[in-house]
Every structure is written in structure tokens, then in C-alpha cells.
Symmetry: C3
Subunit: 344 residues, 3 copies
């Protein structure tokens, strides 16, 4: 789907975030559409997270609308019961159970407050492929990490990726809160290391917005370093680092973790977390950051959904790329390559 | 449309229920979509029910939004007037009326509180093809029949048929009110007699749910006989008969009449009536049964609409059939045969 | 799109009304979809009306959701800035601006309270092609003109054209307010003069409806002259002239200006103005006319949207034309001819 090549939607053989840990329990399953399919998420009797294909193979009833029985899901329609490994363990009308009567059980890994799901071939679900939570400053020493937002967007996933890989938009879409014009004017340096592709900007003598002044408790110019690290296909980590001008003396750093999980071809689950090094005991700073990020994310969602509407009105969507789009385009090519590799 | 073969939607040369008698009057037409077309339903000056094609042939204005003039409908747009036989009797701008200026007038039969419509070739509208209202215990001696519910479902008609022909779902979707697990476990016996196809279950020593205990005013185990009689393509009659265990001594019987009238290919009119032999003078029992059946029907509608959503997300819908689905499958084949016969 | 030939939607090389003058300002752009595209409408620093293509060529963000900077629009996403002539004058991340980086700037003409937009080749935007505002009795001496209504219809534009070119519908859809049965019965005389195509009806000894009696402050029979002048493709002027029977002595005249601007293939912008010769200082008459016309226009919108729904349900839409449809059909042919000429 545009702007990816025709027929390219999302790569499957990867880890995505399916949910927050606190969304799952042993009482009521959570339904979340992931990569075009309904998934039923819950906890078994011992508290382990479980993700089953959310569609009973018998009559297509949503398993996420079905009751949990112990560690299994009992289809709310005719009672076919599926254990946490996906195997059917009961068909109420008969004693024998055909071995083909099963649903997919997705490999899951809980890390920090996230439930990571492997949507591809289960045999290849290698936990080490999940981005390092120390590296992304979620679990790293000296950082406070915060679970922040959950949204379902009416826009194709790639539009959110493109938003995140061109943070010159901070200067305009989020002017006054997290963006200044200097962000857009700064040169972008792109680098990659096999794990993520970084687009970085260095802005010397940047003037802090009121929001940054308040949460950093700092006035006056700073050297600002802004980067987006894209861990394809699922997470963008925005880095912000503020230092005293011309020095290495830190004022503070934060990360925003933008998690993109395709719901369907044209709708997108969006989870946001963030972490910071400064004022870690200060709840007022946490509240302010949550409030401002919520506003900014609403602006991003509105942008993506507005663009989706315009794109759908065009017989042949198009765009006009400039030099600053290089990070976006390289990340898009990466996505296309991942999808293309699976198509073969 | 799946699960019927591609291009198979509904058979036309049949009687369907179009409305309840009390929905029709000589004041304001009722619009109901039936088999993909809008229909205008009203009463003529003498009180006879009339069903005209609800689309003015002139400019496609809905005749059901048009005023009734005597026994005719006057199109609310340009005044073309159609008598109850469908013939245009007035074109305000001219005196001659082309004979092709007419709408379909559907044969109707009012039986009990139902208005039956014949959607096929009018010459073949044989009233004797309507299910016998004594046989289905609507007008039979010793039965009290109740007009109950009217719904429009956002799901293809066949999903409702499939729901009704596998009542093992009573044990799960309607657990605690009308279903126990014994219903799902019981063997199904299928029989047919040219009028209907029955799927029957006999459950000896069944424990009554609180609902059944209350309305039957009976405690203790019963022999329960449950059946669904499908009179293709329009009505399913659910039979419930309770007897003292091991005897022929009746405790009570009721029927639920599930009437399925396709609105369009993917939406469905659903009318529900029911009748009973017991406590016929007791309004509290009537109220309780109406309340519990309304809850159960809401569960069925939610199931059908949820399944519809999942099916639409699948490029190639599929299902996994088991032995207990035999009644469903035979009824589905019957539907396909009726449609196929008309396609030739 | 039916009832125009397949693939025929709207002619582009024409003037349409884009907005009312008072909808445009230098604070916030107005987004209006016109002929399938989003348009951003605003005023430059000197107060001139501007219409830019409402889609940033960079990333398809809606320019109508973007801030006005002086006389330019600054894309709210990444800051690409477009002057009122459509040329990009700033890309925040670079100093050079590719000449292809531009949006369409539509020729506009403000006349009376309307902003006329030229949607075709700008070189051919000849202001003299706009209907003469004296001729249509908007700016003519002795007439009071009133800005009245703005709507967006969920129906294809041609359905509104067809509504307006058969005013026999006044007798039915608007019975009792602006229509009597005599309107439908009267013969239609069609004439054309290169500017507009007229369908005219003369009704001698017409009985005034209560509404007409009230606003004209006149009782008793009148000679009524009713016409629709269609200035393809954008405006229908309804003429109503009342005289003392058998004389040339005027009682009063009014015009209703029905402005049809396609939003997309299947949705339509509808602007309504009207003017009158009588009681020009009387605000109560203005209020009554606004109220009654608002009711009538709501009836027209409901008709168009109801017909749209029925048409969409038909695999092959059809209609049954009669003699009174001649004006409609000739106007439709005119529309098809305008579209066809551009297709070559």
C-alpha cells in the first residue's frame, strides 16, 4: 500500500508490541487487531501472558469475546476450548478432537511494561531480536520510564513511520511545545548500525521552549541533540539531550518511545512511553510531560488521519521529496526490504 | 456470498415475513428493505395490507417516504401515483400514462400477526406454501402466542441461519438462561419431511435453569426435548418440551419462532415470536419470557455481527466443521439448492 | 457517473462558487472540497481572496489546517510555505527551492457575496463567463438579495441538478409552502440563449399558498410565472413572478439562486441565495422567507440523499422519463456535452 510498493503492507517475521502488561489479566481477554488479524490477549492461571488467534476456527466467533477457563479460552459461541498453546482441548458435542482444530498461539515476551508479540513463524521467535531495553533507556540505570498513551489510528501504519522519521515536523506541528524552527533548519546526519537507523540533528545555542525550561528547570541557551532511532519495523526512539553550550556538561536527557503496531492495512495501534534522567522523583514533571506529549501525539494522529483522507481521494498518490526526507526514505526502503524478503 | 457459494445470496420465489401486522396502517408507509430492494408497506382504504416496490420508477425516489392517497401511494417527489396493484394512475404533468409506468406489487398474506410477502414471480404465489401456523404452534389450540422482537442486523442472512441451526450454542452464548452444557453434549437427530428439516436433541434428567424453573413453576429434573425445525428459507421454529423424567407427563412446552428475512446481501431483518402451553393467563410469565428472550437475541445479534466483521477481514473465509454441524450444513445445502434452482 | 455517462463526473474549465465572502479571512483557512480536491481558502494581507490547492505536495498534509503567514500558507506539518500564487517560498530544511515545489493557485473572483473559483486551465479564466449578477437579479436595481444557506450533501451533484430542473416537484415535495398542484400540471416551455437554458411555466389564476400570501401581503388569485434558468454547470436561478390576473400589473417577484459545486464525485456543496422586489425594508418578510426556504431545501437534500442510497443499491440504475422531464434531460445533455468536450 502506498507509499510502500503495491501489495506491500507489513513484515510478519518480527516482534511488535501487542499491549501493555497491565491490559492483560485472567478475568477478561483483550481484543486487539494486529497485522490484519484479531488477537485475544489474556493471562493464564499462573499469570503468564497469552496471545491466541482471536478467531475460533469453527465458526469465526471472536475468541476475545469469550470467557477464560483456567488457562484456556472457551469460545463464547459453541464452547470449543483452546489451551494457551492454541490446541483445542474440548469440543462439547464430541469426545474426539481433530488435531487441525487449533488456533495460532503467538510467542510473547514481557519486557518492562510491554507485551511483545512475534507475528511470524514461531520457530524463529528469537527474543534477542527485541530492541535492547537498556539501549533504548527504558530499563537503563539512572532513567525513569513512564507508560503513557495508547491509540488506534484510522491511517495506514507507514504514515506514522514517515511522521516519526522526519522530526523537522516538531518545528511546525508541535511548535511551541517540543519544536523550534531550529530543529527543522538543522542538518540531519544519518547512521545505521544493524539494529537501528538514526537520523540526528545537533542544534547549538538553542533557545528552550517554555515546556523544556519548566521540566528541565533551566533557563538560557543549550546545545540540543535530537535523534530518532528506528528499530524496524516496530519502534522509534526519539532522543533529546540538552547540554550547556560548548560543553559536555549535561542538563538532562529524555527519550520518547513511539511504538507502531499495524492493526490492519489502513489502521494502526500506537503506544507511547517515555523516559528521563532528570527530576526523577518529581511527579509534577511527570504530569507535565504526560500532558504535553498527549497534546503532541494528538497532533500527530490528526496529521496522519488527515493525510490518509487526502491520499484516499487521489487515484495515484504522490509526494515531493526533499533532502531532509532522506532518513524517512531510507527507513521506508528498509521496511520495503523486510516485506520484500518475506514475499519471496 | 460465503458461506453460500459465490454469487448465491437468497432465493426469491418464496414467502418471507415482511412486517408485523400492527406496523402497517393507512397513514404512513413503512419502508423495509427486503432481498436488496426497498419495499413500501401500508394499508389501503379497506384495511388490506399492500406492499409496493419502494422505488418510484420515474426518478428513484423512495415511495415509502411518500404520502398515502386513499389506497394509492403518491410519490413525494413529482406526484406519480401508484395504485395498490402497482399501476401508475396519475402523472401530474400529463394525461396519458405509459403502461410501463408501474411498480411491483408484492403478493401479501396476513396470517396471525405476520404479513407474509412473496418476493418471486407473482403467478407462483401459492399461499399454501406458507408454513402451517397450527403446525408451528402459533394458532394451535392450547397455545398462547406472543409478538416479541424486531431487529435489523449488520450481518449477512446466512450467518443467522447458521446460528439457529446449531443450538449447541445455547449452552455457551446463552448459558444460564436457556442453555446448559447438556444441550451441547446431546446427540443431534436430523430428520426431514418436505416441509421442514429438524435437528432434535433429547436430554433425560436435565437440570432446569432458574429461568425455566420460574416460568414453568417447577423444580427438580426433567426430560427435555429440544429441536429446531427449519422451514427454508424463512423461519426456524425452536421447540422445547419438558416432561417428568421417564414419563410422558408434560410439564410445559414452548416454541420460539425465529423469522429471517434478508434485507440486503449483508444485512438481515430478524423478527421473533414465541408461544407456550403453560401459565397462559399469567402476564408475569409473559414478561419474564420476553425479557429473557430479548437478552438472548441480543447475544445472537452480537455474535452474528462480530463474525461478520471477522469474515470481512479474511481474503478467503474458512471454517472448521464438526459432526454437530450436520444440521447446519444440511440446511445450508438446502438454501444453496433453492438458490441454485432459481439461477438456472 | 450515472445518470451522466460512465466516467463523466464534472466539467473543470468553468467558474463555480467556492464560498461566501464572509467565510474567508486572514486568520484561519477554510477547507472546502471542490471537484474532488481539497482547497484552502483565505485572504491575503491586503484582503484579497486566495484559493490554494489544499494538499501540500511534500507529504499530502492539508494546507487548510495550516497557519496563514502574511499572505502565504505555511504547511502545518513541515513548514513548506506557499505564497498566494502557489509558489513555494520556503523549505525550512534547505535554502534552494525546486521550481516544481508549488501548489495550484485557483483564479478567484469576488462578486456580490460570492467567491467564484475557476477550476480549469488558469489561462482560460475569463471573468466574463461568470453569470451576469444583474441578469440573475442579485445586484440589479430594485432587488434585495439575501445570503441564505450552505450545505454539504451526501449525493452526487447531478441529482441536485435534476432536482432543480424539474420544478414540478414543488407541487409535491414542497406542497403547501412554495408548490401547488397547478405547478406540476402546467406545460413547460423550454428556451435557450447561449447563457442559460430556461424551463418556464405560466399558471393563470393560481391560488396563492399561505406563505406567498403572507410575504406578498396579497390575497386572491394571481397569474404566476415560474421558471428555472440553468447557467451550466454551476447555478440555477428560480424565477417567480406574480401579477394581477389577466394584467401586467406586478404584485411581486423573487429569485432563488441554487448554486451547485461538486465536492467529490458523490458529494455536493450547495449554496442558496435569494432576492426579491417586494417589501424590501421588511425584516419579518426576510425572516419568513429564510425559514420557509430552509425547510424546502432540507426536503430537497433529503430527497437527493434518499435517491442516492437507492441508486447505489441498484446494479444498473434506471429511470422512466416523461415529457415533463424534457428540461432536465436537455440540461443533463448540456452537462454531458461540457464534460465530453474536455475529455477530448
Amino acid at each position: 500500500m502506498w507509499p510502500l510498493p503495491e501489495g506491500y503492507d507489513y513484515p510478519r517475521n518480527h516482534w511488535y508490541v501487542a499491549a501493555w502488561s497491565d491490559e492483560l489479566n485472567n478475568e477478561t481477554p483483550l481484543e486487539r487487531w494486529i497485522l490484519g488479524e484479531p488477537v485475544a490477549l489474556y493471562r493464564d492461571e499462573t499469570g503468564n501472558a497469552v496471545a491466541l488467534e482471536g478467531r475460533c476456527p469453527h465458526r469465526n466467533y471472536p475468541l476475545a469475546k469469550s470467557p477464560i477457563r483456567g488457562s484456556a479460552l472457551e469460545c463464547g459461541y459453541h464452547g470449543f476450548t483452546f489451551d494457551s498453546d492454541g490446541q483445542c482441548i474440548r469440543i462439547p458435542s464430541q469426545t474426539s478432537i481433530p488435531s487441525v482444530c487449533r488456533v495460532k498461539s503467538y510467542p510473547l515476551v514481557e519486557k518492562w511494561k510491554w507485551v511483545w508479540i512475534w507475528t511470524g513463524n514461531p520457530d524463529e521467535a528469537d527474543e534477542s531480536l527485541i530492541p535492547d531495553h537498556d539501549e533504548i533507556a527504558i530499563t537503563a540505570d539512572g532513567w525513569l520510564a513512564e507508560q503513557s498513551l495508547t491509540h488506534l489510528l484510522g491511517a495506514r501504519p507507514q504514515l506514522l513511520h514517515e511522521n516519526l522519521t522526519d522530526i523537522s515536523h516538531l518545528a511546525f506541528l508541535h511548535a511551541g511545545t517540543v519544536g523550534t524552527e531550529a530543529v527543522a533548519a538543522a542538518e540531519v546526519e544519518i547512521s545505521e548500525n544493524g539494529r537501528f537507523m538514526r537520523g540526528a540533528r545537533f542544534i547549538p545555542d538553542e533557545t528552550l521552549t517554555d515546556f523544556f525550561s519548566e521540566v528541565l528547570d533551566y533557563d538560557g541557551p543549550v546545545d540540543r541533540f535530537v535523534a530518532i532511532d528506528f528499530y524496524a519495523p516496530s519502534i522509534h526512539v526519539a532522543l533529546e539531550s540538552f547540554r550547556k553550550p560548548g560543553t559536555d556538561e549535561p542538563i538532562g536527557e529524555f527519550r520518547v518511545h513511539h511504538v507502531v503496531t499495524p492493526a490492519t492495512k489502513d489502521s494502526t495501534n500506537y503506544f507511547v512511553a517515555w523516559s528521563r534522567t532528570f527530576a526523577r522523583e518529581n511527579q509534577a514533571v511527570t504530569d507535565t510531560m504526560n500532558k504535553v506529549f498527549a497534546m503532541a501525539i494528538d497532533q500527530d494522529i490528526d496529521a496522519a488521519e488527515s493525510i490518509e483522507k487526502i491520499i484516499r481521494s487521489m487515484e495515484t498518490p504522490k509526494e515531493l521529496l526533499v533532502k531532509a526526507d532522506e532518513h524517512s526514505i531510507r527507513c521506508r526502503r528498509w521496511m520495503a526490504k523486510l516485506i520484500g524478503a518475506e514475499a519471496q
